[in-house]
Amino acid sequence: MPTGSKQEEKVRGDSGELTVRGLNKSWSADKALYDLSFEQPEGTILGIAGDNGAGKSTLLKILASVLSRDSGEIHFRGVSLDDRSRWRAMIGYVPQELALDDRLRVRETLLFWAAARGFSRSGRKAFLEMAATDTLVSGFLEKPIRECSGGMARRVSLIVGLLGGPFLLLLDEPFAGADGDSRELIKGRLNLLRSRGRTILVASHEEEILTSLCNKVLTLRDGALSTEPVEIAEGFMR
């Protein structure tokens, strides 16, 4: 006989959405996130807007399971964040910093993270062949990371975050330092992923980009929702 909580998870799993309820996080006496609650349906892009220090990165780090929370419940596709191994298998995280080893070439970087993700030798080879035709990185696979422009490095970082085909993708300032072409390429890829049913959270202080990309935008101020989520009309999304 299943327990009550398991039945509850089953229900959540059927819905497939990301649910955040009563999330709190504080640094010593300062509240980083305060009673944050929202839901995001599967196959949508949610924008997190806010000024520097509003709590965007903290929220994404908690969702990426690399930062603890004080309280609150988080579920996605029926899995609780507390079930860390299963949670991490479902998500991809692209941090604000590039988080790449600049001593490696792009090709080596992709191989490294593919292996770290548990890809077999043949899987890594197939992935590299795919990368060679991927518009995001195909032009500079042999370039050392330290010689890549800001936009190129962002694209590599995004590809690393996409390894393993995560159902939930967390992007922290994915357009920072990227030029116009890189921005369009990244946006194009995120739209494609949405059309394939992936759930995406994008944190950025550039509200214009969020409005043009996301289904819904939350604005954080001092760790709390400053207004009700803004639904973006279909026509505004490019």
């Binding site: 690399v66 988080a99 790449l100 080893d101 770290a116 548990g118």
Partner: protein, 407 residues
């Protein structure tokens, strides 16, 4: 997929991830590894040549440990002669002057001697008759306090033994005379017997046997110290690697992708490669030269020291402080361990309380065991490996509790 299957899949990921991080860390240090390998190879060659030279079994006495003493025997007794002969036989005592008390004081002030021993007038006769005797006075050179303290401890121990011998043997002899025996014959026999006992006692040298002060070979000491230092150095690399990535997005990404275990293990393994590179050629050279007999056990001992230090550094690296502060702390810790382990300065010259403390630090047993094994050219026993576990086990527990990144 069930939770158990997920966990198994994650465990399967850790192997390749560990290998990759390890390879990447080593690849970054490729040039440094090559230069170090060349330097160590040269050093090993020099050591193997040195090992072929005839070895003087008698340990040479370092000049800085040589000392002089003055004997002030007011009555010029046989006891004074005995003391003088005894001190002359000790390698560390360069000269024993037979002085008057004022002359001995002048020498002390001039720094020519470390200690003056004063046998007061009537000391011998009072001892023989068993009447309360004046104390033997020791005057120490105030400019050489640690060394003088060491001598003082030894002399005090001898004084206690003398006191016991005199009070028991001469006291018994006096009782015999009081009971009506032949006085002349009893004095003669008891005195001869007492002096024999005292001489036998001095020859046993029992109070000097358990300290390293009296058999220091500078070359062997330097060699043991070098092995210990080289064992500790890779742990500093572990600290550097930990502080470099601590709290960064790169570490976040690795943590999320494959957990923190592979990252920690890869750092330990990279340190291990450095350890092998630094130590193994030297140990092999010492082994082929016949100096290090128990190659495997000595390697195991030094490896345990590396692991102890590496566990501590992994923990230290997680403290929330700037990287440079942690690195300075790491070096301070290593310096402290080297001093307390007797690598930089013989521990036997410390005050007694500090010697007792030093014996509980991780480097001390390793340094003592390695020194003894190299000095004696003797095989090591398995029991020699046990003391280092006293530090290794707590260090392992420490890293398990505090060294891992937790959420």
């Amino acid at each position: 997929m069930t939770s158990r299957q997920d966990k198994r899949a994650i465990r399967q990921k850790k192997g390749p991830a560990l290998w990759l991080i390890f390879r990447q860390d080593l690849g970054a240090a490729r040039t440094a590894l090559l230069i170090t390998a060349a330097a160590i190879l040269l050093l090993s060659l020099a050591l193997s040549r040195l090992a072929r030279l005839p070895v003087d079994q008698e340990a040479e006495t370092p000049p800085e440990l040589l000392m002089a003493a003055s004997m002030v025997d007011e009555d010029q007794t046989i006891l004074g002669d005995m003391f003088t002969r005894y001190f002359e036989d000790i390698r560390f005592i360069q000269a024993v002057y037979l002085d008057t008390l004022p002359r001995a004081m002048e020498r002390l002030k001039a720094g020519q001697i470390m200690v003056a021993i004063h046998l007061p007038a009537g000391f011998m006769s009072e001892s023989v008759t068993g009447t309360p005797k004046q104390p033997v006075e020791l005057w120490f050179n105030p400019k050489m306090q640690p060394e003088a303290f060491q001598v003082g401890v030894l002399m005090d121990q001898h004084a206690v033994a003398f006191d016991y011998l005199y009070s028991s043997i001469f006291g018994f002899q006096k009782l015999y005379v009081d009971l009506g025996g032949d006085e002349d014959q009893s004095w003669e026999k008891a005195t001869a017997h007492t002096l024999n006992v005292v001489m036998t006692y001095l020859d046993r040298n029992r109070f000097t046997a358990d300290t390293d002060l009296f058999k220091v070979n500078v070359l062997v000491h330097a060699l043991s110290g070098l092995l210990v230092i080289l064992s500790l150095l890779p742990a500093m690399g572990v600290l550097a690697a930990t502080t470099r990535t601590r709290g960064t997005a790169y570490e976040d990404r690795l943590l999320m992708t494959c957990g923190y275990g592979p990252l920690m293990t890869a750092r330990l393994l990279a340190g291990l490669v450095w350890w092998v590179l630094l130590l193994v050629p030297l140990l092999l050279a010492l082994h082929t030269g016949g100096i290090a007999v128990s190659l495997f056990k000595m390697a195991l001992l030094l490896l345990s020291l590396y692991l102890t230090a590496a566990f501590v550094m992994l923990t230290l690296g997680r403290i929330k402080a700037p990287g440079i502060t942690l690195f300075q702390l790491g070096w301070l810790l290593v310096l402290f361990l080297l001093v307390m382990g007797g690598v930089l300065y013989p521990v036997s010259l410390f005050p007694v309380w500090l010697i007792r403390t030093a014996r509980h630090t991780p480097v001390y047993p390793v340094m003592q065991t390695v020194y003894q094994a190299l000095f004696d050219h003797a095989p090591m026993a398995v029991a020699d490996l046990v003391p280092v576990l006293r530090s290794l086990v707590p260090a392992f527990i420490l890293v398990l509790l505090l060294g891992r990144r937790r959420l």
